[in-house]
């Protein structure tokens, strides 16, 4: 299937120039529309820039790329059956990438300046553009941004050249890969959302928590987003794409008797808001969330443990997604650990080496839209650099074959493989499989056997890991997750963790543990996997979610940390929800 696609592309690649008589341009969809004011403004300013933007004694830019990101978000929050936030925001931002020099050495990356120090990527937050299709109003901003970018590029370029003169780098890979230009035009999308319907739905879902006095705080958040992107550059890339994304999340906080609190989230996603699950389905899962949380709050406290842990596919999804994001992506030359706040990338220069257990194979396929009839989220046809998405085998039987790359050169990988996320190599839809693999029953037996071998009385099964904006409910957790990221380790909060007796296989729910793993080591510690792969949704920030396809896995050596001794005191007064309705003063 993949091969077919490539052939198709190659054909077009040969055909188009023949027909048009222009430089090789590969067109996926040709929908010429001259009415797109964004494109016209970008193109006109680009051609003027190429022809005339030049400072005396300095080079003209060799590369000019404009990207416009338009976002239209409708956002709702509700608690206890009442709406607390309701807003719509629309914005358009321009991201200019202008480079002086050439592909080998250019003005990108900052180098020794402050941005280099903090290891920033391409680094700007963009420039606000008018949201209306007004040609001159858009061009005015494009003009100013280009002028700024050119002046900065010249400064950086000179600074970088002189820095390299005194600190020569051997075997430099270059700064920017050459790619075949691609024209890919899809219609832009519009946000259409039934505001009344979703207000009713969030109200109704948030009111479900009222039935449970154990729930101390809860919130239901709904967001529907339409995102459109335009990209052009002077190499001939031209790209327009539109995407819808709808997410609803319900989170609740329950307090155990000892004062410790537990939060968990259920979330639902679809492209268009019309394709969301029915309210009944969501109600059922939200109800399940509360019941689960209550069970957790009544469970005994987890204890410190280091040893084998089995992750069900639902738990393996966030675990492997977080691990792979930090290992098989972003390993470009600039991720060298030379900057102050960046540790060395774990898989840099590891292509061809064994990085995972022999049984594991990991494929990344941005084009995948379903898995055995189940919908997958996060797919794309063209990446953020305008490069066509490619299916790649990252790890084959434990050996690292390639890395997710963007146009930033990566050692061992030939150019971009269509995995740019904001200009940096990023994972998309990951498919993890294992050979050999065993069924669920045998897997649990393996876990117990491993435990016995190592002399443990208990082993653990994680069935669910907290994801989604933790900060919605808990700022402290958000801060600690940032800290663990800085240290290069990964801290995960299982919301369903079972202690399994090695003598009789009995499972008992425990609460409050966190799991600490080292992404660089975890893949090698996988000692067995299930034979059933499942698509699992992984939250990406607040407005987004993507799929990963994973089996259940056993990780040989996992650190489970016991809950902190600290507990906040429960509220002094009972909740107004739990007391019989006091008659309001007459």
């Amino acid at each position: 299937m993949t091969e077919l696609k490539i052939i198709y592309r190659v054909c077009l690649l040969v055909l188009i120039p023949l027909i048009l008589g222009v430089s090789p341009v590969c067109a996926f969809t040709e929908t010429p529309d001259e009415d797109d004011a964004v494109f016209t403004a970008l193109e006109d300013e680009m051609s003027r820039t190429q022809k005339r933007l030049k400072l005396d004694n300095h080079e003209k830019p060799y590369f000019v790329q404009y990207k416009v990101i338009e976002s239209d978000i409708y956002y709702l929050a509700a608690s206890c059956g009442a709406i607390s936030q309701d807003r719509r925001s629309r914005s358009r931002r321009l991201y200019t990438d202008l480079r002086v020099g050439d592909y080998k050495l250019d003005s990108s990356g900052g180098g020794s300046g402050l941005s280099g120090l903090f290891g920033s990527k391409s680094g700007t937050s963009g420039r606000q553009l008018p949201i209306e299709d007004d040609y001159y109003a858009i061009r005015q901003e494009v003009w100013l941004d280009t002028d700024d970018a050119y002046k900065k590029a010249i400064e950086t370029y000179e600074e970088k050249k002189s820095h390299l003169k005194s600190n020569p780098e051997q075997d430099r890979l270059g700064d920017w890969t050459r790619e075949k230009p691609v024209v890919f035009i899809k219609p832009s999308v519009k946000l259409e959302v039934d505001e009344k319907k979703w207000k009713d739905a969030t109200r109704k879902l948030s009111a479900l928590f009222l039935k449970y006095p154990e729930v101390e705080n809860s919130v239901v958040v709904f967001s529907a987003q339409a995102g459109n992107a335009w990209l052009i550059n002077n190499e001939g890339f031209k790209h327009r794409d539109g995407k819808l994304q709808t997410v609803l999340s319900a989170s609740a906080k329950v307090r155990a008797e000892d004062g410790k609190t537990y939060t968990d989230v259920e979330f639902f996603t679809s492209l268009s808001s019309q394709d969301m699950p029915s309210i009944e389905v969501m109600e059922k899962r939200v109800d399940g969330l509360v019941k689960r949380l209550i069970r957790v709050s009544r469970a005994p406290l987890a204890e410190e443990f280091s040893g084998p842990v089995l992750f069900s596919p639902e738990a393996a999804g966030p675990l492997l997604h977080a691990t792979l994001s930090q290992t098989v992506a972003g390993a470009n030359e600039k991720s060298g650990g030379e900057s102050l706040f960046q540790h060395a990338h774990p898989f840099k220069n590891k292509i061809g080496s064994r990085v995972a257990s022999r049984m594991l194979t990991v494929v990344d396929n941005p084009n995948a839209t379903d898995f055995k009839g189940q919908k997958l989220f996060g797919s794309y046809e063209v990446d953020d650099d305008g490069v066509p998405a490619q299916e790649i085998t990252l790890i084959e039987r434990g050996v690292l074959k390639t890395l997710c790359t963007s146009r930033i050169p990566t050692r061992g990988v030939d150019g971009s493989n269509g995995h740019s996320g904001n200009g940096v190599g990023t994972v998309s839809i990951l498919m993890v499989s294992a050979d050999p693999s065993v069924n669920a029953k045998k897997l649990k037996k393996k876990l117990i056997d491993l435990g016995k071998e190592q002399g443990y009385d208990y082993v653990y099964i994680a069935r669910r890991i907290a994801q989604m904006p933790d900060w919605l409910m808990n700022m402290g957790a958000a801060i600690s997750s940032v800290f663990s990221k800085i240290q290069g380790s990964l801290s995960l909060q299982p919301t369903e963790l079972y202690r399994v007796s090695v003598t009789n296989g009995k499972e008992e729910l425990v609460r409050g543990a966190s799991i600490l793993v080292q992404p660089s080591r975890l893949l090698r510690d996988i000692s067995a996997a299930g034979n059933e792969q499942k698509p699992v949704l992984v939250a990406q920030g607040q407005y987004n979610a993507m799929s990963i396809v994973v089996p259940a896995v056993i990780v040989r050596d996992v650190d489970i940390q016991e809950p902190s001794k600290k507990a906040e005191k429960p509220p002094i007064l009972p909740s107004p929800l739990s007391i019989p309705e006091a008659s309001p003063s007459p």
Partner: protein, 588 residues
């Protein structure tokens, strides 16, 4: 429900914001929920901690904001009203004399961590759902109460280790409770028309080749305020604010970054100029900036100057008004310029200054800093700050300072902040006035007397900032937007660019020589530690003996290399030369 009405209205031309009318007179459902939870909490939390709870207050602000922004004739953001409710819970434990809010000097790292860890966001419902609202109040009250207990123990510990403070006044004043209810205000706004107007106004800048960044913003805001506390205060009132703002930026040939803005603030739509008037404002901003671009660069200067019209009010607001804010007299980190000056001559004997939030009009202009009750529920009062040059009093919130144990109704804040003493309508009066022409003649005389080549006239001042803390020098720095040189030898006046006013406040105030006979008012908003609050400043034009001016730091960037797209090549305007000379002719 209400919001659904909102959105539906958007489709029509006229949009009306309505709030549910109270079922019974003088109390809305929101107020009832607030009171129920306040009573329950106050009764049961009083003795629940180590330190007794002696004050509990809820402040709830329900704001609906319309924001229309445009540049170059096109919208830059979604035009849709945003409604938001902001809840503040004020908890005081200990006693009026010393409580948890006492400034203890060491507010270190632990406070920040305390504030962050375990923090759960509280969602305040914007629907009138009693249980949902009380649930939010309950969570917020509990958290604030616990934090107050921690703060209090820190205050006590700090009292034990630190030397006694100079000012031993109480932490909280005793005041009579206030009860006030006014019907909800609504905004009747033709949103389509205002969208068009804002876009058209921003399009005016398109005609100016050298103004490269610009924007016009229109905002309309209605705020319903609910104040309730354990002393029995219950206030429910509304406020509407309208603002139109034009900003433009250009760069002089030498790379100096120049910008100008102008804005009009009003409390009702009728007070805003009509469309022609607004276009006039935008054009004036654009023309002034265009002239400024080619004006000569100012030189550092010390000498006589006139602060003209609105610039005089802004000058007083920044240089004097902020130093009159009561809490600054107590805070040992503050410079306390005037703390010990009560009863002393601090400026020219013909100058009196007062702040009067109860005054609604200056001439026929509505003042922006008018209110009946401050954000602590204390009735607004006229305060004489300076009488015939002698310092009389400070602006007071419920945080007493030595000699001033009571609030005078100036505890103000933006939603989500805590109130501190702030200005309302600052008014400068003079008993030594002359017509403006004469004042100008006096400036030239003074220039000659001091043996200077020229004097300066400041026509407009952009906010600026004033540093009142001890860690910074007691100086102010104001950014004058339009400054003119007036020569002693009768040469024509000359516009200059790139200056800022610096110096120490006392000297500038002592040296007011004379004032004009006409008072001008600046309506606007003022930002300080308690957020943005609406204010006004009124003053006659001031002739001062000495004002110090220094050069603004200038950025070294070159102007854009290529001309603006609209003026490049086949543009309708036939200008091909991009030199400044050609342009200067065009604009004169």
């Amino acid at each position: 429900m209400k919001l659904a009405v909102f959105r539906a209205c958007l489709a029509f031309l006229v949009l009306t914001t309505t709030f549910p009318l109270p079922v019974r007179a003088e109390e809305s459902p929101v107020m009832r929920s607030l009171k129920t939870e306040l009573d329950r909490s106050f009764a049961r939390l009083k003795k629940a901690g180590d330190a007794p709870l002696y004050y509990l207050g809820y402040r709830l602000y329900d704001t609906t904001t319309y924001y229309i922004s445009a540049e170059y004739g096109a919208l830059t953001g979604e035009v849709e009203p945003v409604r938001r409710r902001t809840l503040n819970v004020d908890v005081r434990v200990g006693s009026h004399q010393m409580d948890n809010t006492h400034r203890s000097g060491n507010s270190g790292m632990f406070n920040v961590l305390d504030a962050l860890s375990g923090q759960t966001q509280v969602y305040v419902p914007m629907e009138d759902n009693d249980l949902a609202l009380r649930h939010a109040l309950w969570l917020q009250t509990d958290r604030t109460f616990k934090r107050a207990q921690q703060q209090y123990s820190r205050v006590m510990a700090s009292r034990d280790v630190n030397v006694t403070e100079e000012d031993k006044s109480n932490d909280f004043s005793r005041e009579e409770p206030s009860r006030y209810f006014e019907p909800a205000k609504s905004i009747s706004l033709n949103l389509d028309q205002w969208t068009r107007t804002t876009k058209n106004l921003s399009g005016i800048f398109r005609k100016y080749k050298d103004i490269y960044a610009s924007s016009v913003v229109f905002t309309a805001k209605v705020t319903r305020r609910y104040l309730v506390n354990s002393e029995g205060t219950s206030i429910e009132d509304s406020r509407t604010d309208f603002r139109i703002y034009a900003m433009a930026q250009a760069r002089a040939e030498d790379g100096m970054n120049l910008w100008l803005y102008d804005d009009i603030d009003a409390t009702s739509l009728e007070e805003l100029p009509d469309r022609d008037g607004l276009a006039e404002l935008v054009k004036r901003t654009a023309d002034n900036l265009d002239r400024l671009r080619t004006a000569s660069v100012a030189q550092p200067y010390v000498g006589p100057a006139i602060l003209r019209s609105r610039a005089a009010g802004v000058f007083f607001h920044e240089v004097f008004g902020h130093r009159m804010e009561g809490h600054r007299q107590k805070d040992e980190k503050e410079g306390r310029t005037f703390t010990k000056s009560v009863g002393q001559q601090v400026m020219s004997p013909f100058i009196s200054v007062y702040d009067d939030p109860t005054q609604e009009l200056m001439g026929d202009l509505h003042l922006n800093g008018t209110y009946k009750y401050d954000d602590e529920g204390v009735p607004a009062q006229r305060v004489t700050l300076v009488d015939k040059g002698v310092l009389k009093s400070f602006l007071m919130s419920r945080s007493p300072v030595e000699g001033f144990p009571k609030s005078n109704g100036h505890g103000r804040c933006a939603p989500s902040r805590d109130p501190v003493a702030r200005m309302g309508n600052l008014i400068v009066e003079s008993e030594k006035t002359v017509p403006y022409d004469q004042l100008r003649a006096m400036l030239i005389e003074e220039v000659k007397r001091q043996g200077k080549e020229y004097g300066l006239i400041f026509d407009d001042i952009a906010g600026g900032f004033t540093l009142t803390t001890t860690s910074a020098p007691q100086v102010y720095s104001l950014q004058p937007l339009v400054v003119t040189r007036v020569f002693a030898d009768g040469r024509p006046d000359e516009l200059v660019r790139g200056v800022k006013i610096v110096g120490t406040p006392l000297t500038a105030l002592e040296k007011i020589i004379c004032t004009s006979d006409k008072t001008d008012t600046f309506n606007g908003v003022c930002g300080a530690e308690s957020g943005m609050v609406p204010v006004s400043a009124s003053s006659p034009s001031l002739l001062v003996g000495t004002l110090e001016v220094e050069l603004k730091d200038k950025r070294q960037d070159k102007p854009p290399l290529l001309p603006p797209p609209l003026f490049d090549g086949d543009g309708s305007d036939d200008e091909h030369t991009t030199g400044p000379e050609a342009d200067e002719k065009g604009s004169k």
